[in-house]
């Protein structure tokens, strides 16, 4: 599945930016600022491949996905599908686009109409787009493709389990045989054993139909399992873009923190957590320079002082730059072998963190 990129990408975004204005005043709305939801995001996905987008809440991953489906309009930047600019298409062209690009949402009960049967839900895209042919037959076929049986067509969403509901959502997205499918947290509402069924289903569908996926998830394990390339987002920007196999050995300090905090697969070797101090900053007033600098342990290793950050990190924003190994990273000081981020993060947190805290970075923290 890890075929190297070949030919023109199916989907490409360049400089994609979305700012949601914050307004004050009821009659005359005055702009008071903006939420910088997505800032200057660029990537390309080859046909039949999967791009995983990982990030925490507020990192802009869902906003990015919704712009690609054209559910919201970007503030600036462009989206290309098969080389054609689809950023501003409207009317009949937009309807045609909807047949090619579909989305599966996180919450299977919230995205299915409770008053419609599974058959009506899965058949709706066929009806709306006036697809010729026997609709009932096609619905039965779609249900079979996602592992449900034709009798399920007459049941209502509440009669299904969570996993089955998500299958209905996937069948609906498949109805128009899309080329690109956006999967927005497709399994995070599901139990582990159910999640595995849905992940296998998604793998099979991609192999059978050559669908291109953009997978949004906060779970690095899920991302790693389904993706060919992985984009890590922090506060609206991509901070690292790498092959899925390389993401467990990251170059960006934030990716390193995410990887270290990802719960370890039971039974495997234990990992030491990099405990980031504080919460992600506000996207209304993002920090100057590198947005990660207030929480970055690597910056403290460079300065040698848990309370100080190199001038450059505070003032200049690093762009995504390609490293010799093919990955891209937006960091002035990408990780090097032997960087003790765990110790640096502990030192940053200080005694209040509850962890044992060395006064200086030179003295690493004892093993917990």
């Amino acid at each position: 599945m890890s075929v190297p990129d070949q030919g023109p990408p199916l989907v490409e975004v360049r400089g994609l930016t979305k700012r949601f204005p914050i307004t004050r005043g009821v009659i005359i709305a005055r702009a008071r600022g903006a939420v910088h939801a997505v800032e200057d995001v660029s990537f390309a996905v080859a046909r039949g491949q999967t791009l995983g987008i990982v990030g925490e809440s507020g990192s802009g991953k869902t906003t990015t996905a919704r712009m690609i489906v054209r559910l919201i309009d970007p503030t600036s930047g462009s989206i290309y599908l098969d080389g054609a600019d689809i950023t501003h298409v409207t009317g009949a062209d937009l309807r045609a686009l909807r047949r090619r690009v579909q989305i599966v949402f996180q919450d299977p009960s919230g995205s299915l109409n409770p008053r419609q049967t599974a058959g009506q839900i899965v058949g709706a895209p066929l009806r709306v787009h006036r697809v010729p042919g026997d609709r009932r037959e096609r619905v039965a076929e779609l249900l079979a493709q996602v592992g449900l049986s034709p009798e399920h067509a007459s049941r209502y969403p509440h009669e299904f389990s969570g996993g089955q509901r998500q299958r209905i959502g996937i069948a609906r997205a498949l109805a128009l045989a899309p080329e690109l499918m956006i999967l927005d947290e497709p399994v995070s509402a599901l139990d582990v054993s159910v999640q595995a069924h849905v992940l296998n289903l998604l793998t099979d569908l991609q192999q059978q139909h050559g669908i291109t996926y953009i997978l949004i998830s906060h779970d690095l394990g899920v991302i790693r399992h389904l993706s060919d390339r992985v984009a890590v987002m922090y506060l609206g920007r991509i901070v690292e873009l790498a092959d899925a196999g390389a993401i467990a050995a990251p170059a960006h300090p934030y990716t390193a923190a995410l990887v270290s905090a990802a719960p370890v697969p039971p039974g495997g070797p234990t990992r030491r957590r990099i405990l980031l101090a504080g919460d992600p900053p506000s996207p209304i007033t993002p920090p100057s320079g590198c947005a990660f600098h207030p929480r970055c342990p690597k910056a403290r290793l460079i300065s040698g002082d848990p309370q100080r950050v190199p001038e450059r990190c505070r003032t200049e924003r690093p762009d995504l730059a390609t490293l010799p190994d093919g990955r891209s990273v937006a960091c002035w000081f990408p990780l090097a072998a032997g960087d003790d981020l765990v110790g640096a993060a502990l030192a940053m947190a200080g005694p209040a963190s509850g962890g044992s805290s060395p006064a200086r970075l030179a003295k690493p923290a004892p093993q917990p």
């Binding site: 054993s193 793998t203 990802a262 370890v264 697969p265 919460d279 992600p280 963190s353």
Partner: protein, 340 residues
């Protein structure tokens, strides 16, 4: 001090419904020791939350049929009066839930909510309570605690709210903390912070912790002992390392094989076939048998009890351990071999 901190013995919780009683918990036993973390894992409907809601006596209004014993330091909680139970909740057992926003009062400042807990148990005056609330916030690593205490829940981030919940649960210095999915609603890096805080408080204050989670990995990270629940019963119990390094029960195998790993090469996941059984009319014999790839006739004949297999590691399976573990990853290979 010989009695364990929390001891659950043969707990049964059945809820009456129009279709007949729902067997939410059906013969469950486990113990929590002081200064230790017990991890309880299971999927939705396995009875893990109901067990600890029963321990807190928070189910009374649903009028379930409860039998068995839930003893805190030797005293059976199920036999206490409502007034006595009120003195246990908060003061001796603290509890935190998955969603801190719905567990906090939206119109009260968080400092006042913590102070209210202290005042309700009649230990302190107004001013003292306020000061202790700030100190409690500081203990869970909230910066600018004085300022934060004057804020409302909506002004705080998810991680901060969960810290407030922990501060509130621990302000009366209970002996036991029950954390029911405390990090499920939180981001990965914040989850790490919260688990770290709970673990640090366990070490410093010597409290017993019950960590209820659907995530095996979360439990594997912090628990000393693990109980795996399925359909209202414990199917495996043992020291954390043993359970995850050498799992014994086919259901535990199924759970572990379902997790997509970050470091491993991408292989096809091996999900558990089928769905959990009906809780109104559970299957005969082992509850997991209908979905188990290693099933033999004896499985449906009787309900296996949790059986000690050495080193505190126990499981509830009809099959002999050596034959069974040799068959792992060869489902269906030895309906007869394993019976030996």
């Amino acid at each position: 001090m010989s009695a364990p901190l929390l001891e659950i013995e043969d707990l049964v919780v059945h809820f009456p419904t129009a279709d007949g009683p729902v067997h939410a918990v059906d013969g469950l036993s486990m113990t929590v020791e002081r200064g230790q973390t017990l991890g309880v894992v299971g999927e939705s409907g396995s009875g893990k939350s109901v067990t600890f809601l029963a321990a807190m006596r928070l189910l009374d209004r649903a009028q379930p049929t409860i039998s068995g014993r839930i003893a805190l330091a030797g005293v059976d909680l199920l036999g206490l009066s409502h007034a006595e139970m009120r003195r246990v909740r908060g003061a001796r057992i603290g509890m935190i839930f998955q969603d801190p926003l719905s567990a906090l009062h939206p119109l009260l400042r968080v400092g006042d909510q913590i102070a209210e807990t202290l005042r309700a148990h009649g230990k302190v005056g107004r001013r003292d309570a306020a000061a202790q609330a700030v100190a409690a916030l500081r203990r869970v690593g909230i910066p600018n605690a004085e300022e934060r205490a004057r804020q409302y829940p909506h002004e705080l981030s998810g991680g901060m709210r969960q810290r407030v919940m922990i501060a509130m649960a621990l302000v009366l210095e209970p002996e036991l903390l029950i954390a029911d999915e405390p990090t499920t609603a939180l981001d990965t890096t914040v989850e790490a912070q919260i688990l770290d805080i709970i673990d640090d408080l366990r070490v410093r204050q010597g409290i017993g912790v019950v960590l209820v989670s659907h995530s095996l990995a979360t439990v594997a990270d912090v628990a000393d002992t693990v109980v795996v629940m399925y359909a209202g019963r414990a199917v495996e119990r043992g020291p954390c390392d043993a359970v995850f390094a050498h799992p014994l029960h086919p259901y535990t195998w199924g759970l572990l094989d379902s997790i997509p790993a970050l470091d491993a090469e991408r292989a096809r996941l091996v999900p558990i076939p089928g769905a959990p059984p009906s809780q109104v009319d559970p299957p005969p014999g082992c509850r997991f048998a209908p979905r188990c790839a290693y099933r033999i006739d004896a499985c449906t004949a009787r309900l296996p009890e949790l059986t000690e297999r050495g080193g505190g590691h126990a499981d509830a399976c009809v099959l002999a351990v050596p034959g069974r573990t040799a068959l792992r990853h060869r489902p269906g290979a030895g309906r007869t071999e394993a019976a030996a």
